[in-house]
């Protein structure tokens, strides 16, 4: 099961982060607090992504073909998620 957690970890972080952002913007429409909460949720999301990246990349040098593949995909996914989370939060600074 651990393999699935890693494989889907980065993307799950993105999804949770997205739904938090959507809830903040809907709960506090047009209020400053929505932006602050957005930034507050972004920091831990990025931290978890970094953690996932570290966990997966650190183990990517395996002899077992499947393990190597899983860590490889997971690390790329976490990196992708890291960028996507920043992108997703940008409107709070720009709009």
């Amino acid at each position: 099961m651990n393999a699935w957690v890693l494989l889907l970890g980065g993307l799950t972080v993105w999804a949770i982060h997205f739904f938090l952002l959507y809830s903040f913007a809907s709960l506090f429409p047009g209020q400053e607090i929505a932006r602050i909460l957005t930034l507050a949720a972004t920091a831990p999301a990025l931290a978890v992504d970094a953690l996932l990246l570290w966990a997966a990349a650190g183990r990517a040098f395996q002899t077992d073909e499947l393990d190597r593949w899983v860590y490889d995909v997971s690390a790329t996914g976490a990196a992708l998620s890291f960028i996507a989370v920043i992108w997703q939060a940008l409107p709070a600074l720009l709009v």
Binding site: A3, L7, L8, L11, T12, W14, A15, F18, F19, L21, Y22, A25, S26, L27, P29, G30, A34, R35, T38, D64, E65, L66, D67, W69, V70, D72, V73, T76, G77, L80, A84, W87, Q88, L90, P91, A92, L94, V95
Partner: protein
Amino acid sequence: MNSETGFDPELLNRFPTSEERPKGEVEELNRIWAAPSGWARLTVVNNNYIGIFYTGTAFLFFLLAGALALVMRTQLALPLNGILPQETYNQFFTMHGTMMMFLFAVPMMEAIGILLLPQMLAARDLPFPRLSAYAFWAYFVGGLSFFASLFFGLAPNGGWFMYPPLTSITYSPGINADFWLLGIGFIEISAIAGAIEILVGVLKTRAPGMTLARMPIFAWAMLVFAGMIIIAFPAVILGTLLLEFERALNWPFFDAARGGDPLLWQHLFWFFGHPEVYIIFLPAAGLLSMMVSTFARTELVGYHLIVLAILATAFISFGVWAHHMFTTGMPDLSISFFSAASMAVSVPAGIQVFAWIATFATGRPRYNTPTLFLLGALITFVMGGLTGVMVALVPFDWQVHDSHFIVAHLHYVLIGGAVFPMFAAFYYWMGMTSSRALSERLGTWVFWLMFAGMHITFLPMHLTGLMGMPRRVYTYLPESDWMATNLISTIGAFTLGAGILLFLVDLARNFRFTVEDDAGNVYGGGTLEWLPTGLYSTRSIPVVRSRSPLWDDPNICEDVEKGRYLLPNAPTGHRETIITSPLRAEPQYLQIMPGPSPWPLLAALFTAGFFVLLTIQAYTPAVISGVLTIPCVLRWLWETDRPVAVRTADVGAGIRLPTYVTGPSTHGWWATIILLIVVFMIFLMTVFSWFFLYGIHPRLWSAPDNLLSLVPVLGGYGAAAGLLFLGRHLLARTKSTHWSPATQILLAAIALVAAFGIDLWSWRESALDPELSAQAALTFAFLSQQGLLVAITAIMALYLALRNARAMITRPRNTTFDVVFLFMLYTAGQGSVTAVLTRLAPAGFPA
């Protein structure tokens, strides 16, 4: 190599074996897997047949919906044309859009999956053949009845997304809208049945050694496709349920005057509707990936990036639904979040496109009809993607919303992302099901007519839209400047139609369905579906050692055919396949599979009857038809979950696998959990609706007056859960008497019924009236779901008792018992949350 299940991977190195197989094994396989003939052919469950029926039906709906499109285009060719009156035009675009999306695109992908997956994974069949048969027949009957509504002028006319209040009883008083709501709700059930089949199939029936890293991309795509259906479709099921309740019972979910909100529908619909687009695109992209590799004669470049892209698309596509609602006045910040996500979702699609281009660049490509369709798909899809990024930009969308620009955009993505790939796949995989391949010469014509027709129709349509022509209008004025582009579009549509007609000619000339002497691997693909097969799929199930086994091991076809791999015979004398573990595909056990049966067919007929009769308001016959479904389903299940005489069987090279396994590693357990996720998603969407409506009209909500009833309700559900665990405990103790575990389950069912009864009664006694407020209406929507679950569990408990009385419940554990246990436990849980939520949340209702 590491192991996932404790199975020693070294054992697989014994294959291929070298000794001769005894005579008569192939005959035995043929006998066991034979399809019934004559009229009994209708009861067939083999994936080859169901797959081809399914594909054929989906293609039929494509043709019918396409014919509607041509009539619409004829109407729009000239201003003030008189071919279609306004009302008929409304019905036509609604039927065209709805059929294309619900009856063609999604079922077609599911159909291709059912046809190809078992062969691609080298399984004997998908794990629940009777479920596939049920899904197909439900879809076939339901779809045809839905289409027939057109001939009575009763077809729905509210557009494929059926927005209220236009579709509420005030503005759509006829039963047209009900056809949509009940018909589509029903088709979704069939889609979900297929998705469960595909999910469990891909995770649990892959050939040994086919790890996640060696799975064909199409299998990855279908895995994600099915997962997305499980998460997305419940939203539209709930939506159709609520709107039907509103229309039939006057419960105001979408009526702003009584605390509802029409935007709730839009949220529910698009939470399903946008992922739907990717549900259609991902399998098509999976097909493209497979073909690109074959045609370029090299391994796919960036396999792991493509897998990641497929997964990323699935996740991100759930965060973009509100881009269909940019003009509804949502808060700026929310809109921007959806806009950002909508732009992000194009990145994974881009990754796939670049991987395909790279594969072509590094390989030695061949040019033939499927390659043409493949390149046509690429170009068209990329163009649709570009206009997609344009409409993801909010100000641009405000400009073109609801205009023909959108019609052009959506057809570029759908035709480029699904129709052209499908035609490529038809040509490519035809050799698997037909004794003759399709004609290359005609195929070139088919392609160019379709490709040219597509662009002639839809490229000028962007302009028509930018010049201001709204979508969904049945005509326009001569002064409007929209004449030239409309005429060109119509000419293009008929060119496209001519291409499809030519394809039909080719089909008639060359398509000859067969299982045994197929035309074979015309294009030289490297994956397992090109192994020699019969109705039993492959003679023996190969050990997979790479992503393209047929390219890497030139002997594999012969070895498989000579029975030198796993399961070269039928050791139990029944239909069977090897269940493997989800990550590494290590053999776990032999699954005994059911054979042909009329019961799934009858169950499908009665379910369809229920929905169709309900639509035409024949309530008594509807209920009778619905009730008749129950014995059919139970009868079909009755023959399953039976241990066979041999406890373990030799699957070749001295490897023995058990023939009956229970618990969390089994296919039955997985299917139950997935079904419960569907139920939970419907519930979760209701919870969303609850907080959404509360957020819009908090002042219209009031605190309920039946708080005290919470005690007996929770007590009842708690008692049910306790009894369930007790029953499970007793079952494991082999010494206990014949009746006791099933008795606990019956008692648990009684506790569930009692708890639900008290809950319902307390609400009926309370001051809340579901016709007067959305709060009360939603409370009763929660209760309706709970009531349905409780009724199902009651039937399950009786069924279990019946099996127990026939001594069919194995000890210490039993799959049927586990399934009932899980379902009832879940029901107790959802009932408790329902009871608490409806009474206590949102905390401290302002009075």
